[in-house]
């Protein structure tokens, strides 16, 4: 029979409790709503940076909490973020080669 303690230990071992996941999903939904609001409300010079920051925050939250990277061995985080960083670097260089960043 599963006891409350076992369930709690299980949640600790494999990530968060279900309530914790629901809280993360609510935060993600709120950030999405804020992202969509930039389509209707003029954010001025903050438009682009705010959208990019919100995108990165959502990305990190899903990867850390839903994909359990925060609770797994640090080597997985190192492998994932190093690979991601390298990929972003390569594609930014490729885009720069095509003068993408020059208006």
């Amino acid at each position: 029979m599963t006891t409350v303690n076992e369930t709690h230990e299980d949640a600790q071992e494999h990530g968060m409790s279900d309530a914790g996941y629901i809280k993360i999903a609510i935060i993600l939904a709120l950030i999405t709503a804020l992202e969509v609001s930039t389509y209707y409300v003029d954010f001025g010079p903050l438009f682009m940076p705010s959208l990019l920051i919100m995108m990165v925050v959502k990305f990190v939250m899903v990867v850390s909490y839903f994909m359990h990277l925060k609770f797994d061995s640090k080597i997985f985080s190192f492998l994932f973020y190093t690979g991601l960083g390298l990929a972003i670097f390569v594609y930014v260089v490729a885009l720069a080669t095509f003068k993408f960043f020059i208006a």
């Binding site: 996941y21 993600l28 999405t32 969509v36 682009m48 959208l51 899903v62 990867v63 839903f66 885009l95």
Partner: protein, 175 residues
């Protein structure tokens, strides 16, 4: 799985970069801002985001060895994924009727290739979820069930993460 997801990062990175390069190249047909339906795509994005929640609840149930709840959450995740794909099919059909074919412009080719590839990944994910439900029901997983559910979950969350990037860079940031 992490290595596979790493290779997928490179695939989608290439497709997103190509779209970023070509999104302003509209010789014929409608411009992105003329055809994107942001409220509709926002709802689709919300649906896919919530499917990540139901997926993680399925993984959580699998760790508690609760097969019936695991299957229920997997079914809901699959239905949300199918809703997203349905929305994408509707969006593509609407765009096509408005004059945006695959070869209309460089923008249209890169847009359909990027979002189409993502749609195929979601569809494959839905098939994987339905297959997983079947093998859990028939009790055909010999090892740790939770580990199998978690692996499929990783793939599903990755598909969601890619959409988070596509939604911002393709739909919300104008060309």
């Amino acid at each position: 799985m992490w290595l596979f997801l790493g290779s997928e990062c490179l695939l989608f990175g290439g497709l997103i970069s190509t779209y970023m390069l070509y999104r302003g190249r509209v010789q014929n047909g409608p411009h992105p801002s003329q055809i994107y339906d942001i409220p509709f795509t926002s709802v689709s994005s919300f649906v896919l985001l919530m499917s990540s929640l139901t997926m993680v609840l399925a993984v959580s149930s699998a760790h508690r060895k609760d097969d019936s709840k695991t299957n229920l959450w997997l079914l809901i995740t699959g239905l949300l994924g199918a809703t997203f794909v349905g929305g994408q099919v509707y969006e593509f059909t609407t765009f096509y009727r408005e004059g945006l074919g695959f070869t209309t412009s460089l923008f249209s080719s890169s847009f359909y290739t990027l979002t189409g590839f993502h749609g195929v990944h979601v569809s494959v994910g839905v098939i994987m979820l339905m297959s997983l439900m079947g093998i859990i029901k028939k009790n055909k997983i010999t090892g740790d069930k939770a580990e199998v559910v978690e692996l499929i979950g990783l793939y599903w969350h990755f598909v969601d993460v890619v959409w988070i990037i596509i939604f911002t860079l393709v739909y919300l940031i104008p060309a």
